[in-house]
């Protein structure tokens, strides 16, 4: 719960009011039975009807006070708790935005979502009502006990045996219970996962006619959920009636003892009735105590998980005095760079490389040869374990992150679009970009004409929840997005891997145009990408094995020649030459 302390401190005024109003609400609630004590004694014992109007008025006043205090108390509590929830959410989101990519590669989206959403929600319970009810109950309890002692110490002694029993019963069961409740939620989560995956992969399911296996699998998950939920239902069924039972027993003990004390004239009937009302008053919030035990348990585990977000190590740190470098020419130097993803073997082995400003370089190599790692180091998505990367001979670590990244435009392999309008997607990096600039970028990316065929043109919502674009169209929107930045360094991370030849040539054209006067790094498996580059670098198992122009590399024995041969053999495969010769023969 330490997690909450700074937030509570931030809203200490509200917290103070919350406690004060809770105290006042408890007091007004307590005073009513005490007044009733007098009414009954005066009315019944002294048989004095005249006082009734005065007392009615006092009671009504107290009742209204109670009403008012209760409303104010809840009102304050709502603000207090929601402001904290709001702040925590905002903080978690901010941290997530600033967290480096290493964090994202070690956690799945699902886990991060669960932390940022569900864990906060379970903190919510404790803030919204668990604290208030506990506090109120404690006040009522102390107040009631004091009042009871004043009314009749003897009766209180008899009555006070009950709460400890209740307390023991609740705390004894709450720990194992919270596990059960957690388990039920977990099973429900698994059920959801199974469902989501089935629906996402429904085509595969149908292609393999695996529907019946899927039904069997889902039945299993559904049943797991049933059994886990039934357990919690049993906990609930054990908890609630037992608490009612304990309360009723104590009520009876009260009547039993009270009745006796009345007969020996130790207490008055008024005393007895107010005593009874007081005990009923504790009983109502007392019913919730069982739940509060569970909620505290849950919140504790939620807080632990949230803390993991708050205290996740940050790997990419800015220099103490980061430089805002506004102008670069675009020269990139790798100095003895080694890198290994956590838990994996090295993906880069002391790479030395210099790329002059304005050069266009293609990176070639098998999947896993280190191409992506090499480019991910430039914008400091990751930092190398050894060595350094320099831009214009300045270590990238000396740049401020934002100025560094503002010089680098990346077109990622998967063309990720946000659920925004096309305009906003293109202007994602420069939210206040002018319409002309956006259109110019779209034209350069060869997507403008397509956009104009859409009904809402640039205002068309795309992305997960919007209009579906084809892979090639999406990719060209992301190219426009990158071009709008007008970066000095341009990186294409395998941007044409999954498109048809027709689209490929369109994207290739766009890329070629985009790379004009920019230092460009291209990762590609397609020969079409090799056309406009000045230099080809071949990577194998984290090392640069070949470096040069097409003409020289093709003469060396090595991966590059194998690659070109593979492509040529494909062409040969097509019998294209034969068909040409056929033609000539005619």
């Amino acid at each position: 719960m330490k997690l909450l302390i700074p937030y509570v401190k931030k809203y200490k005024t509200l917290f103070f009011y919350l406690n004060i109003t809770t105290l006042l609400a408890a007091l007004s609630q307590l005073s009513i039975p005490l007044i009733i004590n007098y009414i009954i004694d005066d009315l019944i014992v002294d048989r004095d009807k005249k006082l009734i109007y005065i007392f009615s008025f006092i009671l009504l006043f107290l009742g209204l006070m109670d009403l008012l205090m209760n409303i104010v108390q809840r009102y304050v509590s709502i603000r207090f708790s929601n402001k904290i929830i709001y702040d925590i959410r905002q903080d978690v989101f901010t941290i997530l935005q600033h967290q480096d990519l290493e964090y994202y590669s070690s956690e799945t989206v699902g886990q991060i979502m669960a932390r940022s959403i569900y864990e906060i929600t379970s903190l919510r319970d404790i803030l919204t009502w668990a604290y208030r009810i506990t506090f109120l109950t404690v006040f009522l309890f102390i107040g009631s006990i004091i009042s009871m002692f004043i009314i009749s110490p003897l009766l209180s002694m008899g009555f006070l045996v009950i709460p400890p029993i209740l307390y023991i019963y609740i705390t004894r069961s709450s720990e194992s219970n919270s596990k059960m409740f957690y388990n039920a939620r977990y099973k429900f989560g698994e059920l959801n996962d199974a469902l989501a995956e089935n629906l996402a992969g429904i085509k595969t399911v149908k292609a393999f006619a695996a529907e019946h296996e899927q039904i069997a699998f889902f039945t299993q998950k559904n049943n797991d959920y049933y059994y886990a939920s039934m357990k919690t239902a049993k906990v609930r069924a054990n908890m609630q009636p037992v608490i009612v039972f304990i309360i009723s027993i104590s009520l009876f003990a009260l009547v039993f003892l009270g009745g006796y004390l009345i007969t020996i004239k130790e207490i008055t009937i008024g005393n007895f009735i107010s005593f009874m009302l007081l005990s009923l008053q504790i009983a109502i919030p007392g019913r919730f105590l069982g739940w509060i035990g569970i909620i505290v348990q849950e919140s504790n585990s939620a807080a632990i998980r949230l803390n993991e977000i708050f205290h996740a190590p940050i790997h990419i740190n800015e220099a103490d005095k980061p430089k805002n470098i506004t102008n670069i020419s675009g020269k990139i130097t790798y100095k003895d760079v080694s890198f290994g993803y956590p838990k994996n073997n090295h993906t880069l082995h002391s790479v030395n490389l210099e790329i002059p400003a304005g050069q266009k370089v293609a990176l070639l190599g098998e999947t896993g040869s280190g191409k992506s790692t090499l480019i991910n180091l430039i914008p400091r998505f990751f930092d190398p374990d050894q060595g350094s990367i320099l831009i214009d001979d300045i270590n990238t670590k000396q740049f401020s992150l934002s100025s560094l990244r503002s010089h680098i435009g990346i077109v990622h392999q998967e063309a990720f679009l946000f659920t925004l309008s096309i305009f906003e997607n293109i202007a994602f990096g420069i939210p206040n970009a002018s319409k002309e600039d956006v259109i110019a970028a779209a034209k350069a990316a060869q997507i403008h004409d397509f956009i104009m065929t859409l009904e809402k043109e640039y205002d068309t919502i795309v992305g997960e929840r919007g209009v579906t674009l084809s892979g090639g169209q999406r990719q060209r929107v992301t190219i426009a997005r990158t071009l709008l930045l007008n970066p000095k360094i341009l990186i294409f991370d395998d941007s044409v891997s999954a498109v048809d030849p027709e689209t490929e040539s369109k994207i290739q054209e766009a890329l070629e145009q985009a790379s004009f006067k920019r230092t460009t790094l291209v990762i590609s498996q397609r020969p079409s990408s090799l056309r406009y580059v000045d230099r080809i670098i071949v990577l194998n198992k984290g090392r640069i094995v070949q470096d040069g122009k097409h003409d020289t590399l093709i003469k060396e024995v090595g991966i590059y020649r194998d690659f070109i041969n593979a492509i040529n053999s494909q062409i040969k495969f097509m019998d294209w030459d034969e068909s040409l010769t056929l033609e000539e023969k005619k």
């Binding site: 292609a207 680098i408 992301t478």
Partner: protein
């Protein structure tokens, strides 16, 4: 970032055209298998209600004994009184040392304890049974929906987002469950308790009971009104919440783009606005409760106060005893909770009806490709495929094919070629029965496909789709998609054929490695090979490869080509590929353009006529040339 909610697209209640009666019947049909439990629940309910309402009477009798007063004449109480007296006299004669009052009280305590135990037992049983029935109904309903979703064809799944369908199976079912597994029973039991209590208090003192009788409908009405006011506000809270969640989801999945474009601050600002919207909506909704619950407490206090004041007056006048007054106070407490619940019941009912309506709508959506399990099974096929004048459209009146005919003899390899959007995938979707054709016929070995059970056909045909999907579970389980009964030996054999054996052998967990786990993570090419292995296990008579190699890099492609050779041998196959080299060896290449077959023949034949195919090949070769 997403600032749009799926919930906005939800149809309002009543737009599906079901009557309330129908929906009630639908919901109750899920309780039918549990009639025995329902009967038990009803019995427990009555016992518990009676016992609960009888409690205060016993307390009253106790007080009467202490006060040596005579109780008012309430039905049954004389008998009870007499019984207590008789028993206590009996005790007295046996143990003469005991005071008469005390022996009476012992008898009463015994009775009260008994009553409490009965309440404890019955309400515990009641709660468990109710939860059980509700959960069973929920689980069954979800299962029915899931099975139905499996049968629904792709035209349904294309139109409905995963998130929307998911909420049918979770929150909508949840609303129905809450009604069946709690609210209905609890409210019936509440009504019973309220009725019993009212009967008792009227018998005790009619004038004093008027206070409660007036307060009850007032509280019920207030609860109803508040719930009605609060509902749209809670809806708004949920709406803003779902927008916020969607935003978080996108912010996380698009983090790489965000970082690359220095967009963190803007994202945070947008999130702040959504967070604030949700904050305000939540305050709006919760503020209503802040008034509502204190008001209810107040009305309960009001009841207590009135009972005390008027009750005391009536005690002075000698109309009722102090004991009766105390009993009234106790009854006021008992009445309070059930009455609030009753006030909220109407809206809960509405929620459940809304849920039930959407569930019904899903279950009533007819699949265009039913499983037809009762139809004759297709015997082991050779694999002759005939498309006979097929008419097909995705959208009404815009046919993709109006008269598509093609004959494919068994064992042949057919390549489908054409521009993006020409309709190649459509042919395959029809053949693999993902979509239904509207007219014409599809015959396998001369048997019309619509006349046999779907399962018997699908078990003989397999597709490797363009957007292939691996489940997040283990390699073994993914392989079992192809053949659930495959042995480990068979699995290793096919893994060897596709060239994955060594890689998987090297993994710590071998076949049990989850396909998405880091370290054991498969590359795109390896994932594709795994799908091939699953297909080999399925050993289908007809095989479809839809762009199966497009995401494999050139280095790996040669390896995959070998696997593909294995895949294609000994069966009828349909292949779509952008890389024309893959399809060169096809027995027939079919060129499709705008819903029609424009060219058909072998690679050589088609190159010679210099038509569409010639141009496609030329285009591709140009792309492959490095110096242009």
């Amino acid at each position: 970032m997403s600032q749009h909610s799926d919930a906005e697209k939800e149809k309002p209640r009543g737009s599906f055209g079901y009557s309330d009666i129908y929906l009630y019947k639908f919901m109750l049909s899920y309780l039918r298998p549990h009639v025995k439990e329902l009967f038990k629940i009803f019995i427990y309910m009555i016992i518990s209600a009676i016992a609960t309402s009888a409690g205060p009477i016993i307390l009253m009798v106790t007080i009467t004994r202490f006060g040596n007063e005579n109780s008012n004449e309430i039905f049954g109480i004389y008998t009870l009184d007499k019984l207590i007296l008789d028993v206590s006299r009996m005790i007295n004669t046996n143990i003469p040392s005991l005071n008469q009052t005390w022996s009476e009280i012992i008898v009463i305590s015994f009775l009260y304890l008994l009553l409490l135990l009965v309440i404890l037992y019955t309400s515990r049983k009641f709660m468990i049974l109710v939860a059980e029935v509700g959960l069973k109904a929920e689980v069954q309903m979800r299962m029915d929906m899931f099975a139905h979703l499996q049968e629904l064809d792709m035209s349904y799944h294309d139109k409905n987002e995963v998130g929307r369908i998911m909420s049918r199976l979770t929150s909508d079912i949840g609303a129905v469950r809450e009604l069946l597994g709690g609210q209905v029973m609890t409210n019936i039991s509440n009504i019973l308790t309220v009725i019993f209590v009212i009967i008792i208090i009227i018998q005790m003192d009619f004038v004093l009971s008027i206070i409660s009788i007036i307060l009850i409908p007032l509280v019920i009405y207030t609860a109803h009104v508040f719930r009605k006011i609060a509902r749209p506000k809670w809806k708004e809270t949920r709406r803003t919440n779902s927008i916020m969640m969607a935003n978080i989801g996108e912010a996380i999945s698009g983090i790489k783009v965000t970082k690359g474009l220095n967009r963190e601050q803007t994202n945070i600002a947008i999130f702040q606005k959504l967070n604030k919207d949700n904050f305000e909506a939540t305050l709006n909704a919760e503020d209503i409760n802040a008034v509502f619950f204190p008001l209810l407490l107040f009305s309960s206090t009001l009841g207590t106060v009135f009972i005390i004041i008027f009750g005391s007056l009536r005690v002075i006048d000698g109309i009722i005893t102090v004991a009766a007054l105390i009993a009234f106070l106790n009854y006021n407490g008992i009445l309070f909770r059930p009455v609030i619940n009753l006030g909220q019941f109407y809206q809960q009912l509405q929620d459940a009806l809304t849920g039930a309506e959407r569930v019904c709508a899903l279950l009533d959506t007819k699949t265009k490709i039913p499983w037809n399990d009762h139809f004759p099974t297709l015997p082991h096929i050779k694999g002759d495929v005939v498309f006979d004048k097929l008419y097909f459209e995705y959208i009404k009146n815009t046919p993709v094919y109006s008269k598509f005919s093609l004959f494919v003899p068994n064992g042949k390899m057919i390549a489908l070629v054409g521009k993006t959007g020409a309709g190649k995938t459509t042919i395959i979707n029809i053949l693999s029965r993902l979509y239904d054709f509207q007219e014409g016929d599809l015959k396998i070995d001369g048997t019309s496909i619509k006349g046999v059970s779907l399962q018997s056909y699908k078990s003989q045909i397999a597709t490797v789709p363009q957007d292939f999907f691996l489940f997040s579970f283990s390699i073994r389980q993914n392989l079992k998609l192809g053949n659930p009964r495959a042995s480990d030996e068979e699995m290793w054999k096919v893994l060897d054929l596709v060239g994955l054996k060594e890689f998987i052998e090297d993994l710590d967990k071998g076949l049990d490695t989850p396909v998405q786990e880091r370290g054991g993570r498969l590359s795109v090419g390896q994932r594709q090979l795994l799908v091939f292995a699953a297909v080999l296990l399925a050993n289908p008579r007809i095989l479809i490869l839809d762009e199966a190699t497009s995401s494999i890099d050139v280095f790996s492609e040669l390896k995959v080509q070998k696997a593909i050779k294995h895949l294609l041998s000994n069966r009828t196959s349909f292949v779509i590929a952008h890389r024309l080299s893959t399809i060169k060896d096809a027995d027939t290449i079919v060129v499709i353009d705008q819903g029609d077959i424009v060219e058909q023949g072998t690679h050589q034949e088609l190159l010679t006529i210099k038509g569409h195919y010639y141009n496609l090949v030329k285009n591709q070769i140009e792309l492959s040339e490095i110096e242009s």
